[in-house]
Point group: C2
Chain length 495, copies 2
């Protein structure tokens, strides 16, 4: 290493903000996504897999959190000087596909997509630059029946992966109602939709922060502005007190039943055409869902749902897990949001000039998986393989024939392929592999035509808690004829 | 569009060399990969999913086709001026993982990985810049038993996805034998391994082109060089005639049986220590495979297998499909190679300075899938959903209740969500969706409490070929009570 001429060795590290997934982390996620895909499939959705790379031009700029200007995409110039980038979500590529293949795709087009997306954001604890999304969208369906279908399908998907009814709730709201509120509050002029856009942005973000800032914090942001604990000042939307109360009243409009909430909303936006249209749509969604048996125990109208994304134009929805978990500091808290979506009627228009109605949902794969893990409801076979140890390296062919017999019988099995000299290392290896059984055949056993089976699961259990009687009654080690290897292993692992 | 001020619309296009995968293209690939994963799992391999992005430093430069200097990776600089890139294969990330987690991983470490990789190459017909790989590797196993296991597992995987025995062959060779040949031919000096590296590169690539150039073309490349049809001259390795014949004899060393081939190879490299070691290894691999029943009908010793990659250090293998297909010009040809791999003992050493033995295989997912399609052996349910049409948009809740009933019974179903005005469009839509059944309920049926089921598959068949009697005997359309909808649909689709 002191030799100045020898080149520096490369660092064996993932880039900052990226990580690797091993074993059960991969299979548990896959098992969950397979179940969700089956639900989407049953609802008539077809899979679509677009490439990770898109032109920057096609992606556009629709990143959710407009507060933070340093967010972005991973982009580079290709040999023709065109800018390419990794997709940051699955919606932008869908809009591109819907425009590119508009003459070939069925209309409406129901599609689902699952895969990684990339964000060039500051990484943080639990916040990675590559993560999975799992989306379902319907393109070309103007009716809110499409939104209702997505909400019902989302509820089905959550139950299918192992979140029982009562442990989740899908909340539905409508951007049109919110626009009605904006109109009544004086920050939306139907005759000039661009006017007050900046103020509306501040109102939207303020509403989205109700949980974090409380009513007074939101009121401050709706008015002159708010100074946070660090002393930083965020400029507000500049609403008067009366205007601000309209917005606050909207957030507070949820009543005990759907019809009562809808009546309260109708009252609030009475004077706004768009607001009233939004309330009508919410009413239709609720009745379509009720007809299929999706009652308020699963899907509710909730005016507090806003969704950060600027591109939503109608119904918006969010799925929340309502059970409590312990956070990293050991405090109880609700698990929170695991999926969200809504109607976005203008994304395809960017390409074609023609408005194409679309609605969809995106499931936060890592968050949902974390929830399942927290509740012990992941489903993936995490049993390790049966490990055939190597006592005599000249008889490797015999050991390989043993694993071959086991595999043919459908039993996961492997032969130890490291240096066989130290037998203790082989048992340590079997332990690390979570092997249920170790198979041993030394010279004596080979001469007798037998093998020794060590029940590692029982062995570990006995070592921890067994009485002498139990040790005697259930030996963790048996010797069986070689030709009974498969049957004996099968009995030991209980299948 | 004539308005100079309106911004140009973005083009709805994938970047050059990228493509989208729709419906069955996705599910067929997934079904195939799931089967391969099950085989890998049974052999004790654990899944690993690394991120798409690596540091350029960690990836290194191991792209296969060193002939073409314009090949490369998609790379960019991050905010800290580090160069990041999309992985170009799954082996380089494995080497990084094996080094980074060397204290935590079991040793030997058997892992499989499936996912897209990216190459910044000139795209061509059927040649894309993003494609799937499916790899299995064993890291930390010096014994050729690991290579034998990989070969046997590859044969199992091919049979599992639907390539019957006899339609494929796994060919095995050993780089050490080739090095022995190089030594005998005078282009390898064991005392100075770096010497003649350039010439050996030319020899390797010449051997790999035997199929394309024939013996005379290869001889020319081994000697002074070769002028191709276009008049371009490729400089040769500069071997004398006698030296070249040693190499030609090696390529021609395959005999009718494994033992005969091994005897011929032993003869050829008799005077080379490394060559003899390679022949011994081939003999061991053949005997380990024979002990498990993998005979020459599945796995053969074949000196013509070279593999382009420079990093192989021992056994190399390749799986070829031996059945004939028609190429794009309608000519019969053998399908060819679908997988390959070998032992590479130095990739992890780049990071740690310590040699780590490793061996593995990579399946060309798109090629194998194309082979299965050519033989009609893909397995994925491509039936479309039952389509419930909308005769009366005010009764959308009724139609959604119907699809809900069907889905609860496990039947894929959807309600038509486009503009319902033109009923013909709804049937065209059902057709485009490959729907097996259309459900119709107009005002009369609703009043009678019935639904009409149109058997679209039978209908299409009858329209093509039915006699009048058949039309009468099996009507493609029936009217049933609403509460028998599920049972009647189930009968119609035969499940």
């Amino acid at each position: 290493m002191a030799d100045g001429k020898s080149p520096r060795r490369p660092r064996a590290e993932t880039p900052k903000g990226f990580r690797d997934y091993f074993g059960a982390e991969v299979t548990e996620r896959k098992a969950m996504l397979d179940k969700i895909a089956a639900v989407y499939h049953r609802h008539g959705f077809d899979p679509l897999e677009t490439s990770a790379v898109e032109t920057v031009e096609a992606l556009g700029k629709f990143l959710p959190d407009v507060d933070r200007p340093n967010e972005g995409v991973f982009a580079w110039q290709d040999e023709d000087q065109d800018w390419l980038a990794l997709r940051y979500d699955l919606t932008a590529p869908l809009a591109r596909v819907a425009a590119q293949f508009r003459n070939d795709l069925p209309s409406p087009y129901r599609r689902y997509a699952m895969g990684p997306v990339w964000r060039n954001e500051k990484p943080g604890p639990g916040r990675f630059r590559q993560f999975y999304q799992c989306d379902a969208d319907t393109v070309g369906a103007p009716s809110v029946a499409a939104d209702a279908e997505i909400c019902a399908m989302l509820a089905d998907a959550l139950e299918e992966v192992g979140i029982p009814r009562g442990d989740y709730i899908v909340r539905v709201n409508n951007r049109k109602v919110l626009n009605g509120v904006m109109e009544v509050a004086g920050v939306l002029d139907p005759a000039d939709p661009e006017k007050f856009a900046h103020e509306r942005g501040i109102v939207l973000r303020a509403i989205d922060k109700l949980d974090r800032l409380g009513p007074d914090g939101v009121r401050a942001l709706l008015g002159a502005g708010r100074k946070d604990e660090s002393g930083d000042f965020t400029k507000g939307a500049g609403l008067g007190a009366e205007q601000a109360e309209v917005v606050m009243g909207f957030m507070d409009a949820k009543r005990d039943t759907g019809p009562a909430t809808i009546a309260r909303l109708r009252e609030l936006v009475e004077s706004s055409r768009i607001g009233t249209e939004g309330v009508d749509e919410l009413e239709t969604i609720a009745s379509l869902l009720a007809a299929q048996g999706y009652g308020p125990d699963r899907i509710v109208i909730d005016p507090s749902v806003v969704r950060g994304l600027g591109y939503y134009t109608g119904p918006v929805f969010e799925a929340e897990l309502t059970f409590e978990i312990l956070d990293e500091k050991g405090r109880k808290r609700q698990f929170g949001s695991v999926a969200g979506g809504g109607r976005y009627d203008d994304l395809v228009k960017r390409f074609t000039g023609q408005s194409v109605p679309a609605t969809g949902v995106s499931i936060g794969v890592d968050r949902l998986l974390a929830a399942l893990r927290a509740k012990g409801r992941t489903s993936a076979d995490t049993t390790g393989p049966v490990v055939v140890t190597v006592m005599d390296r000249d008889r490797m062919a015999d050991y390989m024939a043993m694993v071959n017999d086991l595999r043919r019988a459908g039993i996961r099995a492997e032969v130890y392929l490291g240096n066989p000299k130290n037998f203790g290392n082989q048992l340590k290896y079997a332990d690390k592999r979570a092997a249920p059984v170790a198979v041993i055949q030394g010279g004596n056993e080979a001469a007798n035509g037998t093998v020794i089976l060590k029940d590692l699961i029982l062995g570990a259990k006995l070592a921890e808690e067994a009485t002498l009687e139990e040790w005697k009654a259930r030996p963790a080690q048996v010797e069986v004829p070689r030709d009974q290897l498969v049957a004996a292993v099968r009995e030991m692992i209980g299948r």
